[in-house]
Symmetry: C2
């Protein structure tokens, strides 16, 4: 298998090309780091974008929703969706407004959404989505009831094309602007998981497992 | 003016309706808190979603890009766009996979994108976008060159309909699941601005202004 995605009209990065990457490893890495995906579809000719919980298995992105949710029903019957996962990493304070920007990691994926109907694949996909957000938690929980699995919708999107865009640099100012008497640099931004907060209905003395404790402090 | 957006087919929340809000104040609040927006449009019948820097002025969302970027050229000539801004606030670890979820604040806006061509409005919009991400910085920077303004594209989207969805609760488990011997609760997630990092090309001894120092520590 090639180590990069083919560059097609739909995934070709035209702006800030020096930040673009078509490497499969980079695309997977950003997908795996993110918490939510933004999935876009066309409904009656108009665009709709919805934030969704997701997970990745090889070249397949699994999107999660209620079985009867509009987003699942629309994705089920549409030919095409576009998924973006973006992590903001910093503000770039340049010496001009024009050169001020952000640091980020972003991935855009195109593919055909398919409703997962096979029950075994659906359960596998749900575990992948759960493990994406809370690794190991799935195995600690009770088995899902048939009714719960039926009420859940999973959409599989095989990656047909994709691109990543990564901005991680210091300000890039006009040569003459370096003489301006103004501070320039970066303000890093992190998205971070914090300390556990007990459910208000938690049974007295019940402690979190090692799997749960390990989730704390994760930086996206 | 009404204090809520009219509920139309496009912005009606059908799932988890108890988390939905059409209050203008809530929609504005979430828009103002976010760092990036995801804007979706239709290109040749297919959906495309792009993360964008933005700002809000009253009922108008301004989106920012390079004038020649695909997203600006497409938004310029399309009739409709959908914008979502979502902030992830926590993982909800319930006693089952089915009831596990996330805490979040999310806004979806629908409207007609219009390219801003009037130079005075464009500069005003650029200041609004800059102030959204880095309040006060615009006024410290040199004036933008005409060429820079020409190279920048700003799209105005007047909010025609919108909805917010806010999930902020503890796990909501099945009555019988509260007897399961497993920890449940929340893992809060924040997106946070950290301490300044000097540009590698910063002139010796140049200190950040009060405006810049104030950006540190902001929690989104």
């Amino acid at each position: 298998m090639s180590s990069t995605y083919e560059i097609k009209p739909e995934n070709k990065v035209r702006q800030l090309r020096e930040k673009a990457s078509y490497e499969i490893e980079k695309v997977h890495g950003i997908l795996d780091a993110g918490l939510i995906a933004h999935a876009a579809f066309v409904q009656d000719g108009a665009p709709v974008v919805v934030p969704m919980i997701y997970g990745r298995d090889g070249e397949t992105v699994y999107l999660h929703g209620a079985r009867k949710a509009r987003v699942i029903k629309m994705l089920e019957k549409t030919e095409r969706c576009c998924i973006n996962v973006t992590q903001v990493d910093g503000l770039v304070l340049a010496r001009s407004a024009f050169n001020s920007s952000m640091q980020y990691r972003s991935v855009t994926v195109f593919g055909k959404p398919v409703l997962v109907t096979d029950e075994a694949e659906k359960i596998r996909a749900l575990k992948i989505i759960s493990d994406h957000l809370m690794p190991g938690r799935w195995d600690e929980l009770r088995d899902s009831h048939d009714k719960e699995i039926k009420m859940t919708g999973v959409i599989a999107v095989k990656i047909e094309s994709a691109s990543a865009k990564i901005a991680a640099a210091m300000p890039d100012d006009e040569p003459e602007d370096y003489d301006i008497d103004i501070w320039a640099g970066i303000i890093p931004i992190t998205t971070q998981l914090h300390d556990l907060v007990n459910d208000t209905r938690l049974a007295k003395g019940l402690k979190p497992s090692a799997v749960v404790r390990k989730l704390q402090g994760r930086i996206v």
